[in-house]
């Protein structure tokens, strides 16, 4: 790891001002991607601003039909939250199957979506749930937030404070894990929200997480796995690598979507 300067912020405003003062700073939350990247000498931020201890960025609340999760809330906390289990078990179950226990007790939802790894799980959930991402300056809808591979709508020095979404009437995530990394080779989050059926796919698309609108239309007519059996999922636009080519990923999107819908 190259030399870096570590700062621990106690409030969002302090975090933002520390970042403003840094040459080439990075926000550090659970560090489950950033720290290994730095150890491999593939990233060399001048400063790390640790946001994990900021109170307003921690915790899960369910109130008035809205779920709010602080950006620095760990996957383990999300997985173990009883109110969330009642309101939207699909998200809690998704968190329970990210990585391994060490990752789940350090990694956070804000870190995951800010990194926007094309095979990460949370982006699919937030996109399918039509979530709102609240930062220190504004609110961004999930549809606008996830821009492409490892790309988001976040500006430099902008930090995610929390994410929130309406409690859906149905929500379920089906993931086919990469046999090695156990990230998603294809993961599909299916949700029935007040805005209708929303299907988001991670791991498979060559431009990152995306909505499968043909399936959404089919499910708006009738919410069951059979409804999407006729939807064609082509290999075009799918990722292809040593673990699965585009044709296989297209198949997995279809199969996992069916399982997600059936699981709701």
């Amino acid at each position: 790891m190259y030399e870096t300067k570590y700062h621990k912020a106690s409030s969002v405003s302090e975090a933002v001002s520390l970042m403003g003062a840094a040459d080439d700073g990075k926000f550090l939350s659970g560090g489950q991607t950033l720290l290994p990247t730095m150890k491999a000498h593939l990233a060399a931020p001048s400063d790390l601003v640790d946001v994990s201890g900021i109170a307003e960025m921690n915790g899960v609340s369910v109130s008035g039909g809205t779920v709010t999760i602080g950006a620095a809330t760990t996957h383990a906390e999300v997985a173990g939250n009883a109110a969330l289990q009642d309101a939207c078990a699909g998200v809690a179950d998704l968190a329970a199957n990210i990585g391994d226990p060490a990752v789940r007790h350090l990694g956070t939802i804000g870190g995951s979506i800010a990194n926007n790894d094309p095979a990460a799980d949370y982006p699919a959930a937030l996109l399918a749930l039509g979530a709102t991402i609240k930062t220190n300056t504004r609110e961004i809808t999930a549809d606008d937030f996830f821009v492409g591979l490892f790309e988001t709508a976040l500006d430099d020095d902008e930090v995610i404070v929390s994410v929130s979404f309406e409690v859906p009437s149905k929500a379920c995530y089906a993931k086919f894990p990469n046999p090695a990394s156990r990230y998603a080779l294809a993961g599909v989050f299916a949700a029935l929200t007040s805005a209708g059926a929303r299907i988001a796919v991670t791991g498979a698309g060559d431009d990152g997480v995306y909505r499968q609108t043909d399936m959404e239309a089919a499910l708006d007519n009738s919410w069951n796995a059979d409804a999407i059996s006729g939807v064609l999922v082509g290999a075009e636009g799918m990722l292809s690598d040593m673990h699965g080519d585009a044709t296989y990923r297209a198949n997995l999107v279809k199969v996992m979507a069916g399982r997600a819908v059936a699981g709701c």
């Binding site: 000498h41 699965g244 296989y248």
Partner: protein, 786 residues
């Protein structure tokens, strides 16, 4: 409590591992210790035009930056392959030069170009990045068949077309004639996938040059410290043998990868002399993927013929073996004498011919990995047998049984003379344990749940305890393959056994103590096993090829024979009895039929005080033996794998795995079962999960656990492990060896089961979900077309 042969004694070594007191190479800290980092080539094939270390040398804390010109200038020799294999035309193998630090050219990604020594590890690594190497890149070839083509990039000047040797075994004309006369033939292309060894402890070394004594000490992660010392001294000119001590302390797994002497140990020893500092290097996981010798990587075409009664008449095999960019220590023996000599399998085959071309590519060297040649042979044979059975429409178990060798000794046409076995007994035991008769009902039930269920057999045979020395010498081996032991009875009766075997997970401190406990009726706590230090142990060939039981323990038995003879003489003298009437049992020396006895410690005391021993006898009680076996041993068995495949995703679940092994005498069943479990896990890893992938430019894509799939607990079933043994007639304990069997026997069983389930025999390892799904689509399309 019985702690002798056959007892499930808990592992004596586990206490220190479980309480975190294991002593691995990286745990050791020498005075004045500096740290090494290597500058490695990012290119798979390039000319090194210039190395500019000035920026690195100017950094605070950097002790030195040393390169290949300096190394060769100081007379450090090239790394060699220790087994000479000639081509079929009699010409010697084309061994290319391999300097520990590249001089003019790099030949794989990770090839070491320079070594940086610094006061701390972080500085060493930063300085290594600051070394500027000017490369002129060259065309790259990573696959064996492509490397043999005309116009392929040439990796070593003295190996035209990248051919190392073109070797054969068996009678080609007779085999061709037999196949021509066959009533049925089966032909297949078979790939044995390339694997990364992944020992839990990465390789490490600490080299210390003592200027005052002109003496070197090397702590290193070795399976065979004496062989390391011999090679470092005799071939690499690092130091004369008597001025070099090699210690392999606790070693966390080897699987073959820690047999070889790598560039890093050589460079650290030399750098210690150059800098007058202790030099420590510990591989990180990425370096391990890039530089630890890989295993397997065969591309094979095979043809087998049967007569009208389904008896095998001939087998012809053609294999291309990828040995990587340089010839590692035993690389030449693996695809020849450890592979083609096992192609008779468990079957009576009159005619076998095998041709092997060994090939250079721009990849890390390939050498022995758990099984070493024998997994490749059993995969060829058992895939062929299963496929032939399907094509001829006969039961695969019956086809095998019809061809089993039933009389021993049995001379195969490919050197090996099998000494014992009862292959039908192992098959019977496995078939019963697997409830083979109930399989079709289970298949139907699985189908009702939408799952494809299949079953596959593998009847493996392998060869352990490679020997005798004169025979392997005549085949080109540069070393003898005996083992030594020294049994020291102390004056108080406790015993130290110094063994040339090396334990890096095998549990020698327990099993070796058990045979001593059995022999003299002593508790194992009174017995200490000493290994891994060239200053303590007389000499030894180390641990690999499942040799420590059959060869290492036999040496201990031979040394104990001598101890026993002396003890009986002392007993007879002191107890005033005839030597013929002396017996040793329950920790005492007794006169048969009387109540006269000496306790064991009294014998020790008598030997060392020498107040009352037979006239002319030397004092002390310490005996040494060098044991050279008369033959290989031949563990064998029958494995049955049952799988369920999800046709929607191609995911394979192993729902049953049955092993029936013939290991001869078993010292500690718990440790043997552990070896079988681990071996099967690695075999399932090869069959379902693991595969090294280089891209066309020679970059290693599978360079971390994000992409290289190691088997995890939830990938593996609960094994059903059984034994059905015949005693090995070739060594005093009747042992055959168990360390590699699981990895040798399991891959064909898994692939046979999956291909049975999906109805498509065209499936390569690792059978990932993506590949299995694609094979299901192909089978479905074929079926639809028909």
């Amino acid at each position: 409590m019985n702690e002798g042969i056959g007892a499930r004694v808990l592992r004596k070594e586990d206490k220190r591992f479980l309480i975190g007191k294991g002593r691995y190479t990286d745990d050791i800290v020498e005075q004045n210790q500096a740290y090494a980092a290597f500058v490695r080539s990012p290119h798979a094939h390039a000319i090194v035009k210039n190395i500019d270390a000035s920026a690195a040398e100017a950094m605070d804390g950097v002790v030195a930056v040393l390169n290949g010109a300096g190394l060769t200038g100081d007379g450090i020799g090239n790394i060699i392959c220790g087994w000479a294999v000639n081509s079929k035309d009699g010409s010697p193998m084309n061994m290319g030069a391999w300097s520990a630090l590249a001089t003019d050219k790099v030949r794989y990604v990770g090839d070491a170009v320079a070594i940086v020594i610094a006061d701390d590890l972080a500085t060493a690594r930063l300085a290594a990045e600051a070394v500027e190497v000017d490369y002129e890149t060259l065309p790259v070839v990573v696959q064996s068949t492509a490397a043999l083509e005309d116009g392929a990039p040439q990796i070593h000047e003295n190996a035209p077309n990248n051919l190392i040797f073109d070797w054969e075994i068996g009678e080609e004309a007779a085999t061709d004639a037999a196949l021509a006369s066959a009533a049925y033939t089966t032909e297949m292309d078979i790939v044995n996938n390339r694997l990364s060894p992944n020992a839990m402890e990465p390789r490490a070394a600490i080299a210390t040059f003592n200027e005052a004594d002109d003496h070197y000490t090397l702590y290193t992660t070795s399976q065979n410290p004496h062989v390391a010392r011999l090679v470092l001294s005799a071939f690499y000119n690092v130091a004369p043998e008597h001025k070099l001590r090699v210690i392999a302390p606790d070693v966390g797994g080897g699987f073959g990868s820690k047999i070889y002497i790598y560039p890093e140990e050589i460079a650290c020893l030399w750098a210690s002399m150059k800098t007058n500092r202790s030099v420590k290097w510990t591989s990180d996981r990425t370096e391990a993927f890039l530089t630890d010798a890989h295993g397997r990587d065969h591309i094979t075409h095979a043809k087998i013929g049967f007569d009208k009664n389904h008896k095998i008449v001939g087998l012809k095999v053609d294999t291309k073996a990828n040995l990587g960019a340089y010839m590692s220590l035993f690389s030449s023996a693996v695809p020849t004498y450890l592979y083609a000599t096992l192609l008779s399998g468990q079957y009576n085959i009159a005619n076998i011919h095998c041709n092997v071309k060994a090939v250079y590519t721009n990849t890390v060297p390939v050498d022995a990995y758990r099984g070493a040649g024998r997994p490749e042979a059993s995969f060829v044979m058992e895939r062929m047998m299963e496929t032939a059975a399907r094509e001829m429409g006969v039961n695969p178990a019956e086809l095998r049984r019809k061809n089993f060798i039933q009389e021993f000794p049995h001379q195969t046409p490919v050197i090996m003379a099998y000494d014992s076995g009862d292959f039908a007994a192992n098959q019977d035991q496995a078939i019963k344990a697997a409830d083979y008769a109930g399989f079709e009902a289970r298949r139907a039930e699985a189908a009702s749940r939408g799952k494809l269920r299949g079953i596959g057999f593998s009847n493996y045979i392998e060869a352990c305890g490679i020997a005798p020395s004169a025979a392997v010498g005549s085949l080109g081996a540069g070393v003898g393959l005996w083992e030594s032991a020294e049994v020291r009875v102390n004056p108080v009766g406790t015993i130290e056994v110094l063994t040339g075997s090396h334990s890096h997970g095998q549990g020698h401190e327990t099993t070796f103590a058990q045979i001593v406990a059995e022999r003299f009726g002593l508790p194992t706590e009174n017995i200490q096993i000493v290994h891994g230090d060239t200053d303590k142990v007389q000499f030894g060939m180390g641990t690999y090829g499942s040799r420590s039981g059959a060869v290492g323990m036999s040496a201990i038995v031979k040394a104990m024979d001598k101890v026993e003879a002396k003890v009986k003489k002392i007993g007879a003298h002191v107890l005033e009895a005839s030597e013929d009437d002396i017996i040793i049992e329950d920790g005492a020396v007794k006169v048969k039929g009387t109540d006269k006895q000496m306790l064991w410690h009294e014998v020790g005391l008598a030997a060392y005080t020498a107040h009352n021993i037979p006239e002319g006898m030397e004092p002390g009680l310490k005996e040494t033996s060098f044991y050279d076996p008369s033959n290989f041993t031949f563990p064998a068995g029958c494995y049955i794998c049952e799988v369920e495949v999800d046709p929607e995703t191609g995911t394979t679940e192993i729902v049953q795995f049955v092993a029936s092994d013939d290991f001869g005498t078993i010292i500690n069943p718990m440790i043997v079962e552990g070896q079988v479990h681990g071996g099967i896990a690695q075999g399932i890893g090869q069959a379902l999960l693991e595969g090294v992938v280089y891209d066309d430019s020679g970059q290693l894509l599978s360079a971390s656990y994000m992409d290289y799939t190691m088997p995890r607990a939830d990938d593996l079933p609960s094994y059903s492990v059984h034994h059905q043994s015949t005693e090995c007639p070739g060594n005093p304990l009747g042992m055959k060896g168990c360390g590699e069997a699981g990895a040798i026997g399991s891959p064909p069983a898994v692939i046979n089961a999956i291909t049975d389930a999906i109805g498509n025999n065209d499936l390569s390892m690792p059978a990932t979900p993506a590949k299995v799904w694609a094979a299901i689509q192909t089978a479905g399309a074929k079926q639809a077309a028909e």
